[in-house]
Amino acid sequence: MEGSPQPERERPGYRPGSVEDFDRLYEATNHRLFATLVTLLRDRDAAEDCLQEAYLRAFRAWQRWRADAPAEAWLHRIAINVAVSYRRRERLREVGELIRRLGLPPDPDPAELVVPELVRELRALPSKHAAALVLRHLHGYSNREIAHALGVPERTIASRLAAARNRLQARLVDPSEAESGTWQEPSVSSDK
């Protein structure tokens, strides 16, 4: 699926507002967006839900899309925002669940157990750090494209990637030295 990068983002010719072009964009990009979401989120269903939501939002905004940014990076930006919102809600649910269980540790998620350690720890990073790593190391995005996708200045991408890699490495060596096992959204903007 991801082996032969023939990025849609290098193909010109999408017309904002054109339903046919949006269909084409969907066909060209939905697998890569799904790959991003299924890496960032815990399960397939959540990834599919977010994928649908992201394309729906993108379609509503398609009239206003401007070709100064690669269309796939723009879609990724929407999808990542959807995923961030999803993860926030998920974290709230987890907190509620924790309170309900009066401090007992949660049951391990069976789906999470089969996930490679690296991906599990990646998911524990702040959403946009994790997204930056996925965009670079899964999709081969350039700094500029990552900047578009994350909605941050291009000059911050290199430092964000380095910080994300360092945090991930640290977690892999000793997960307990990282902040916690759950999502840490507030630090997303720390290196903006």
């Binding site: 991801e2 969907y26 990834a47 649908q52 905004a61 490495q169």
Partner: protein, 216 residues
């Protein structure tokens, strides 16, 4: 980006494991084959087409005629067509004709010395369109019923020809007064054209409301 040293090793590992994970997750499921945005695009397409023909208020009026008037039976009788597409087209023509007629009337009135507010003028226009469409629909409906009666039974013909047998239901037909006269036979007037138009006009507005920004 060129991986270097131990960072390079880590980056290679990152790429490899991400790809393996994504490969194992396979592809998006069946929902991806029928994405949610397609439904939105279809809804958008329909409302755009309707508004292109009629405009918001008139589209609401068509809906009101079809709904209040008892649906397809009345629409069929009013337009003489069994095809839903033709029904809409025919009603659209009726409404367009009425709009022109009302516009001309309004222009005549606007030359009068007493100045009216815009809202009052609009309300008067809508009311005028309602009356006009109602009258057209009734006119066509009566013609259709007359044709059917000629070809069916004497009883049907008697029923059609003598509306006084049931004053509450048939009295309105053919009057074209816009107050529930678009009701189907036996249904009575369950609303008036103006009210229906107003409500459905709002629904049309809702359909064209700009979507919120995705905050990308």
């Amino acid at each position: 980006m060129k991986p270097t040293g131990s960072n390079g090793d880590f980056e290679r590992r990152l790429e490899r494991e991400l790809r393996l994970h994504v490969a194992s997750a396979q592809e998006p499921g069946r929902r991806a084959a029928r994405p949610a945005y397609l439904a939105a695009s279809r809804r958008g397409g329909q409302s755009l087409t309707t508004s292109g023909i009629l405009g918001k208020g008139a589209a609401g009026l068509v809906a009101a005629v079809l709904t209040v008037g008892g649906g397809s039976a009345v629409a069929m009788a009013a337009t003489g067509s069994h095809n839903p597409g033709e029904l809409v087209q025919s009603v659209a023509q009726i409404v367009a004709g009425c709009k022109d007629k009302v516009r001309v009337d309004d222009h005549d009135k606007s030359t009068a010395p007493d100045v009216d507010t815009h809202a009052a003028s609009a309300a008067r226009n809508n009311h005028g369109i309602g009356q006009c469409v109602s009258s057209q629909v009734n006119h066509n409906q009566n013609g259709e019923r007359h044709q059917q009666a000629n070809g069916v039974t004497d009883a049907d013909e008697r029923k059609t020809a003598s509306p006084s047998t049931s004053p509450g239901t048939h009295q309105d037909h053919g009057q074209g007064n816009g107050s529930g006269s678009v009701g189907a036979p036996g249904q009575g007037g369950s609303g008036n054209g103006t009210g229906g138009q107003s409500d459905h006009g709002k629904a049309g507005d809702h359909g064209h409301k700009p979507s919120p920004s995705p905050h990308p």
